[in-house]
């Protein structure tokens, strides 16, 4: 299992289009991918799940990937987050 912590620095938090793109990215992998914020964990492949977390600017999230392509998944997601959402 892969696990990584990120801080969301985007002005809009995990709300807008970049969040949609992140969900799309996660959907490309077969691994089970989850995102956790303030103790609540949801499926990163679910746009409604992700948005219901209500992560704002400065929020910390933990992403886990578990499955055959977990390494590739985590790498792609890390890139996606660093590009638009945070660090």
């Amino acid at each position: 299992m892969e696990q990584k912590t990120f801080t969301i620095t985007a002005e809009t938090g995990l709300h807008a289009r970049p969040a949609t793109q992140l969900v799309n990215k996660a959907g490309q992998f077969s691994s089970e991918i989850n995102i956790e914020s303030r103790g609540k964990s949801v499926n990163l492949k679910s746009i409604m799940g992700v948005m219901s977390l209500g992560v704002g600017k400065g929020g910390e999230v933990i992403i886990t990937a578990d499955g055959n392509d977990e390494k590739e998944a985590m790498e792609a997601i890390t890139n996606q987050i660093q590009e638009e959402l945070g660090e």
């Binding site: 809009t12 969900v23 959907g27 409604m48 948005m51």
Partner: protein, 570 residues
């Protein structure tokens, strides 16, 4: 029995065909149990798959006909449709509680809709609307109800609807839409403007047409007069077929004017330009032979998003328009937000009287960082063609001077950075506040051009809110006071060797054109679809006669008298 109804003429042309009532059926969803949960799950999965195919098709069609931006609406819908959390929750409910998939979906989607609707974030509230749309689509498949989606029709129809929203219009298929009719709206409402730009005959403001007509009824729509006929007899059909032929013939004749100059019968040249909102509108502009862009409304770049557009993004949009016009003038108006147009992410204070409040240039002069970004993008784009900058809502000379100072600062900065900026970019103002129209002589010394925004000028001059139906009769573009202000502005610019344009709806109206020609207007900017009719009308006018007409109009007592003498003349 033929029935005649009068609505508001919104888009010229005659349509004869079957009515198609566009409405979302109210689905009655009750909590019911199912004997076999496995079967119900299969039904659900099939409904989701069908909805997905439908959405894919709509998305592809939208992408092809209207481009990426509108197609994105349906990409978002697909994402919701495929959402594993939502699908999973519905499936679990069906399995565990043995309830119908419809009821389970209704419960799950309502939960999300409630959650998103209550969030303090415009973007999230829009997503609630997406979830509603998508679950409605699945529910209709589950119920086996025919989906009266705009794209589901494959025969030519006249669409009837209470109103047409932007997302409805994104789905409108030009090929199958003969015309449309709405219960609400006026000549300047979204649906009417859209109909004119798509050149679809339309009548709006019919109040209750959707309850008088059923899908399949034969209908005539005359978008030129606002007349509707339900169940016409043969003789009536013939009359309207004749009108249809006349209209088509007129349009054909006008098509020949695409590359021609705009010139009156006695040789007076004017410029007929187009109003646009986004670079996507350029197709219509070029097809209709516009000689320039008289108004590029930049606020669409700022709308429907969560943060301000960056300099490069703006630069690309401006540059693409300027380049496509190939040296012809392009007047770009700086951000005109506030009033009826809001930007949630700017967090503007609510005002009692937003039209007289913190909007347009007033907002930009306070929010200088945002304004400077736009000015820089404009200056950089000016290097690629004939770009002119226009400030909206100027009430005082101080405002104009402040805006020009900021522009000058950014120009110097760009020079220092080594960025290319067009030579001698003209700077003008929109004249829409009476103070500026009255003091036009003073303003004319400090601008390169004026463009009269009649939509606001009329509402401020007569103190009549153009959105309020109760005072609609006071919103009078032909009021002699408005004509006097227009004359004052044109004369003041000419005295300084400058020019005046007009970019309100009025500039494209048959009644207004002879008056404006007579008053000496240099540039008429209108919806692209009005350009060819205007050019053909202009060719029949005589400027010396138009001048006399304008002089007589200025001495009239009422707007009605003005319209009367113009109609007698043309």
């Amino acid at each position: 029995m033929a029935e005649h109804i009068q609505g508001i003429a919104a888009s010229d042309g005659v349509a004869i065909g079957k009515a198609f009532l566009l409405e979302q059926p109210e689905l009655d969803i009750q909590k019911e149990t199912v004997a076999n949960a496995e079967d119900e799950l299969e039904n659900f999965q099939a409904a989701v798959a069908n909805a997905g195919k439908e959405l894919e098709a709509i998305r592809a069609k939208t992408l092809e006909q209207q481009g990426e931006e509108n197609a994105e609406i349906f990409s978002a819908h697909l994402l919701v449709l495929e959402d594993p959390e939502m699908l999973g929750a519905v499936e679990t409910k069906v399995k565990d509680e043995h309830i119908t998939a419809s009821y389970a979906l209704h419960e799950v989607s309502s939960m999300y809709i409630d959650m998103f609707e209550n969030m303090d974030n415009e973007y999230m509230r829009e997503r609630a609307a997406d979830i509603k749309d998508v679950s409605q689509r699945i529910l209709m498949h589950l119920a086996g109800v025919e989906n009266t989606s705009l794209t589901a029709t494959d025969e030519e129809v006249i669409i009837l609807s209470h109103d047409l929203t932007p997302s409805d219009t994104a789905q409108l298929d030009r090929q199958y839409t003969l015309g449309f009719v709405t219960n609400i709206g006026g000549r300047t409402s979204h649906s009417a403007i859209m109909a004119r730009s798509l050149e679809i005959p339309a009548v709006v403001g019919t109040k209750d047409m959707t309850s008088r007509v059923q899908s399949g009824d034969l209908l005539i729509v005359d978008g030129g007069t606002g007349e509707l006929v339900i169940d016409p007899d043969e003789a009536t059909m013939d009359t309207y077929r004749e009108r249809q032929r006349e209209h088509e013939a007129k349009k054909e004749a006008q098509k020949k004017l695409v590359g021609e100059p705009s010139i009156s019968a006695d040789g007076q040249r004017v410029e007929l330009a187009a109003n646009i909102g986004t670079p996507n509108d350029m197709k219509g502009v070029l097809e209709n032979g516009a000689e320039g862009i008289g108004l590029y409304r930049t606020e669409f770049l700022y709308m429907g998003r969560d943060s301000l557009p960056e300099e490069d993004e703006q630069f690309e949009a401006y540059r693409s328009v300027v380049e496509k016009m190939n040296g012809a003038p392009v007047v770009i108006r700086t951000l005109d937000i506030g009033g009826d147009k809001e930007l949630p992410y700017l967090d503007l204070p609510e005002e009692l009287n937003p039209f007289l409040g913190f909007r347009a240039l007033r907002l930009c002069l306070e929010n200088t960082e945002m304004f400077r970004t736009q000015l820089r993008a404009l200056l950089r784009a000016s290097n690629y063609g004939n770009l002119k900058i226009m400030f909206p809502m100027v009430a005082t000379l101080e405002e104009l001077r402040s805006a020009k100072a900021l522009l000058q600062e950014e120009k110097s900065r760009l020079h220092e950075e080594g960025a290319a900026v067009g030579e001698a970019v003209e700077v003008g103002i929109m004249v829409e506040i009476p103070s500026t129209a009255v003091a036009a002589t003073q303003f004319a010394k400090e601008v390169d051009f004026f463009s009269i925004g009649t939509n606001d000028l009329v509402q401020y001059t007569l103190a009549a809110d153009r959105m309020s139906e109760r005072v609609a009769h006071l919103y009078q573009p032909y009021h002699p006071a408005v004509l006097q202000l227009i004359k004052n502005v044109i004369d003041a610019s000419h005295a300084e060797g400058k020019w005046t344009g007009m970019c309100g709806e009025m500039a494209g109206e048959t009644t207004a054109i002879p008056l404006l020609l007579g008053l000496g207007l240099d540039e008429f900017s209108m919806s692209a679809s009005s350009i060819l009719p205007a050019r053909s009308q202009l060719a029949t006018l005589n400027v010396t006669v138009a001048r006399e007409l304008a002089e007589r109009a200025l001495t009239c007592g009422t707007a009605d008298e003005v319209e009367k003498i113009v109609h007698e003349h043309v």
